[in-house]
Structure formats: C-alpha cells, structure tokens
Chain length 347, copies 2
DNA sequence: TATTAGCACTCAACGTTTAAGAGTGCTAAC
DNA sequence: GTTAGCACTCTTAAACGTTGAGTGCTAATA
C-alpha cells in the first residue's frame, strides 16, 4: 500500500480530528477553514473524493460529509503511535494514594482511567505464569476446623478451611506443616505428581486424609487464581456516544461488561501478542470480540515483575481520542512500574 | 383510608395485571373483555373515573387508557402479600451446585435470580454485626516478611503481609502468637483499647513494633469487612422495559449498579427495618434511593446464622411482576437457610 | 337505581408533504 | 493546479392531515 502524499494526509487527519470532536460527518467547507492549508472547499472536495476512492473515508449517504473508515483510523493511529510519546499527567498523585491491596488498586486504576478518558475501561488481575508455592501453614481454628493458608510466588494468599474428624494436637500439626512445606515448597502445580502425594500420605500415617485435603485446597487455590478476575469501570460512559447508545447495542455492551467472559478473550489476545510495544489498538471489526465491532479498543499490557502480567483495556466509540488514550495508557504503565519498584524497595 | 368495594378492587387488579403484561395504558374496553365481570365498557369507564379520583390509577393524557399509580401498586402489593405463600421452584437445584466460597455463592445467587426474573438484582455480603476475633496467626514467609492471618467469628479470613527489619526465630514467633491470641481472642474491635495495646507492647519487648503492626492489620481487616461488598447481575435487563431504557435513565441506573455506594443505602434501609416479614417492597418514590424513583424495588433480608445478615434486592420497572418476585425471593430465602444448615451439619 | 348504548370530543401516533440546509460532483474559468 | 459557481441529492425538521383508541356525558333501558 502506497503512502498518501502530505496534503492528503493532513486532510485526512483534519477529518478524523474533527469527527472525533463532533461525531458528525464533516464536510469540505469545514476542513477548508479548519486547516492551515488555505485551500478552498472545492479543492478539498477533490481530495476527499480521492481519499474516498482509496478507502480512507466514507460517505454515510450522498450529500453528507465524510467520516473516517476503519482503514482511515488505522492509518491515523499508526502514524500517531510513531510520533507521540506523551508527557506525564496528574494521574500520578491519584494513583499513589495509599492503596496496597491488589484488588483495590486495580479497581482504582479502572476508575481513574474511566474518569480521565470518558470511555469504559477494564483491567485484568495479573496472571502469574508459573505459580510456585512459597509457603503452606496449617493452624487449628477450633476442635474440628483447620485453617490452611497457602502463599504463592508474588505473595498471593489463599485460605481454606478444612473440617477434620479427629482432634489434632499441636505437635501433630507442626509435623504436618513441616511435611507439607518440605515436600511442596518451590513447586508449581504441574510439578506436584501423584507419586509425591502418595509418599506424603504414607508419611502422614493416620492423618493422610488431611494431606489429601490440603493438596486439594492447593490445587483449587491455584486454579481459582487462573479464572478471570477483571474489573471494569465507567461502563455508563458509552451513553455519551449516540452511535453506541441505542438500546440493542448498549444492552449487549453492558452485558459484556457484567459477564466479563468475553472480556477475557480480549485479555488473552492482548497477552498473546508479544511483538508489540505493549499497546495495541483494535478498530471496529479488528476486535477479537464481536460484541465490540462498533467500538474501538485500546489495550495495554502491564507487568509487575516476576512475570506477573495483566491487561488494561479502554473501550469506546470508533471516534475515540486515540491520541489521548494511548498517551494516558503509556503514562499509566510507567506509574505501575514505579509503584511496583517503590513497593519492593521501600515497604 | 377506606377500602375499595369488591368490584373496584377487581377492576383495579385487572388494570394492573394487564399493564404488567403489556406496558401500555389499558382502556375500558379491554377490561370489559378481560374480566369475568360481564360489564360493558361504559360501566367500567365510570368505575375507572372513580378509581382515578381516589388516586389508584392515572391517565397519561386525555383519551389514553389508565395506568396504575404508585398508590395503586401499593394496594395491589399489600393485598397480594397477605394472600400468597408461593410454592417451591426449580431454583433449588441450580443453587445447590457445588459452590462453597461465599463470593461465588453470592454472585451465583444474583445471577440465577436475574435470569429467573428478568430484572436487575443485587445481593450484599452478610455483615457480621459483632465481629469477634477468633484466631490470629503469624507465620514467617521469608526473612523479612511475616504473614498475619486473622480469623473472625463466622470464619471470615483476612491476610496481611508485614515487613520486619529484624529477623525472628521460630521461638519468638511462637511467643508472639501466644501473646496476641491470649489477649485478643474473643474481643470485638471496640473492645480493644489503648491500655491493652500498650500492655501487650510492653510484654513484646523489642518486638513491640510488630504487635503494633498486627493490631493495625486487625483494625484494617475488620474495617475493610465493613465496607460494602455488593454483587449485582442482570443490569442489562432494564433495557427490556422501554420506560427505563432511555439514555438518561439507563445511564444513571447502570452507573448506580457499577458504583454500588447508592445500593448500600438500600441495604442499610432494609436491614434497619425489623418490623417486617423479611420482604419489603418500595414502589417508585418510596425508594430510599432517588436514582430508582422510576423503578420498584423488592428487598429481602437473609440470615446465615450467627447474626450474619445480608440483603437481596430486585430492581425493575414499576410494572414489576410482584407476585412472582415475592414468591421467588421467599423460596430463595428458604434455600439459603437450608444451605447454611446443611453446611453446618455436613461438611 | 344501576347499567348500557351512543355520540361528540380529545389527543398521541403515524404518514405525508414541504422547506431548509448542508454537502457533493462537475464544469468552466482563472 | 486551484477555484467559483451551479445544479443536484439527501437528511432533517417542521407543518399538516388522518386515524384510532379512549374518554366523558347524556339519554334510554332493565
């Protein structure tokens, strides 16, 4: 595909910018005034006819102005990505307010982002790729209940309450703790095999059933970790864009944000793509999720060290302010980096 | 307020039933055919004029049919509540599928309920009224990190990771554990006073800062417990009712379901009302939350023993199928009871 | 006295018409 | 290559008439 000459490019940019602002098809006269090209509307018309023929813009109907096509947006975005490296924003302070629990942090991020951009946002909890066990602790809660605490790499903590028939004295509990930790620490779930389990059960003697239960709990904890944890915010922002706000579409979108399964495929798609700078833009039909085919989606991958990766997504109309969104996301990714490093360094 | 005569009552019921189905104002002729009263439309018209004067029904405009007023719905609901005690539904099986984590259970309930009713639903996590400490456990995760596990009455578990400068040997850790548990077990947060804290710090000697940190963690855990945990489902159901689906209203409602703070006031209102059978109906302006003034809300209080109370809410249009909703909620409350008892009895 | 038939009236909803305005494509002149 | 001018297209909104559902009232009926 041959690149556009400079003037066509400027006109295309002007059309897109203008359309982003107004949401209305933009006509030749507007562009003629809007740009610093000093061209009459007639000239612009000629150029626009060319641009349309090349597929960068569309006419909703004869005698309406033009709107950008997906291809047009794509060109605009690609061009923009090369140029821009946005300045830091006031977002920093907001984010660094005392938030230390992962869940709160993520919710906060989604919210701040939604407020800043006026689009709907989502953020997935970091998925630990290799989930090593770090620490297991059994404690007696009362006569027939044992609490199992399971800590994995990255300090993800899971609890599970087990019921036991037999009463356990402190000494036995201590022995079990040692048994479990010596055998399991440092292993990922896939490394825990049946041979190991039977060996441990042997050693546990009459308490073998407890070992079994604990291992089940471990398995479930790590598995539960894998299922989607996605936080969303600003879903009602879609009502700000008439092209998304009709009942049919709005309902589908809202439902998607609530169900979140569909969003998961977006997360996976984003994480899969390694080639990239970390930010991806899906315009219209390019999206991996059909429900969003009238939207554009910008996603970013963030990393909190130790291979803990998550995804941030911004979902809005095709006439999204790509410029701002990409900038904000870039800043945000830096913030998250800083936050992580700060936390490691200085508890 | 004097009660209506039998015929007026029947006509009112017919109007409401019909309106619930169609969502359109209902005219005299319809009622004349719809009921078994064998009255001409003219007679119905006279009665309707009376009913309107009494405030039970409204005319959206001259020469439209009538729709129920809030007062009309109220009468209908009150009457219905006396009579009905609904039969059990198929919901049972759905609910009893292996779900043992509170969070999942609640989400599941919200979802099932939304699917069953075609309205939006919410459920608040049970709030433990007197949150007694049951058990505290400190464990060493690595050289500079301690895991504090805090279990409260009702087996709510909270974790917190503390950083420590000094390395602690097993013996010290054990002593600290004993110290904390002997002092704090069985206390609610309000019972932990400053005197007690300083006494404990004294005993902890050089490790007093850890005691302080743990107590902070305890306080935070219990406080965090208090902030709203509310799950919603089926929010997009509101699009099924044109009277709620215009952009303005839909946006506000969706936002409310996302933010959830407003829903909290609904929860509080519901829990506050002790007088009731457990189910309350708010029609239109009766709602404690302004945002829902065009909706009706049916709430129920459920209890999982030990004073753990939560709230379930169903939010829909004023022309809600009160009958079905109240029935479903009653069944559901029984299910939750059973579930709790079953779980206690048979782990 | 309660009920009903009949009729004139009202008003939202819908389709049609009309006018205005924005925007285009094309041609001819600069 | 650029621009002015003009005829043409098509959306949008307002204006208008028509339709039909539904009402209130009156007078006749059981």
């Amino acid at each position: 595909m041959q690149s556009l000459d400079d003037r066509k490019m400027k006109i295309l940019q002007a059309i897109i910018r203008n359309y982003l602002e107004t949401g209305e098809p933009v006509g030749s006269r507007t562009i003629s005034k809007y740009t610093d090209l000093n061209l009459s509307s007639a000239t612009i018309r000629n150029e626009m006819a060319d641009l349309e023929e090349l597929g960068y813009i569309l006419q909703p109907h004869t005698s309406a102005g033009r709107i950008p096509s997906d291809k047009g947006y794509r060109l605009y975005v690609d061009r923009m990505m090369e140029e821009k490296e946005r300045e830091v924003e006031e977002l920093k302070e907001l984010l660094l307010e005392k938030e230390d629990k992962m869940e709160h942090l993520l919710k906060q991020v989604a919210k701040v982002l939604a407020q800043n951009t006026n689009y709907a946002t989502m953020i997935s909890a970091p998925q630990t790729q290799r989930n090593k066990l770090k620490f297991i602790q059994l404690s007696r809660v009362d006569a027939h209940q044992i609490l199992a605490v399971i800590v994995t790499e990255g300090n993800i903590i899971k609890n599970s309450i087990l019921r036991v028939e037999e009463e356990l004295d402190d000494e036995t509990l201590l022995k079990l703790n040692i048994l479990l930790n010596t055998h399991l620490n440092g292993l990922t779930i896939s490394e825990i095999n049946l041979g190991m389990i039977t060996a441990m059960k042997m050693q546990a003697g009459i308490h073998s059933s407890i070992v079994g239960n604990v291992i089940d709990a471990v398995a479930e904890s790590i598995k539960a970790e894998e299922d989607l944890e996605i936080y969303t915010s600003g879903t009602n922002n879609i009502f700000k864009y008439p092209e998304l706000a009709d009942n049919q579409k709005a309902s589908e979108l809202i439902n998607m944000f609530e169900e979140k399964q569909l969003l998961n495929s977006l997360v996976e798609e984003t994480l899969a793509d390694e080639s990239n700078t970390g930010i991806q833009v899906y315009i219209g039909d390019e999206t991996p999720v059909q429900t969003m085919k009238d939207c554009s989606v910008v996603t970013a991958t963030y990393e909190l060290g130790e291979g803990m990766k998550g995804t941030i997504g911004i979902i809005g109309p095709k006439r999204m302010d790509y410029d701002k969104v990409v900038g904000t996301l870039k800043t945000l990714m830096h913030q998250l980096d800083d936050l992580y490093n700060k936390r490691e360094r200085d508890p």
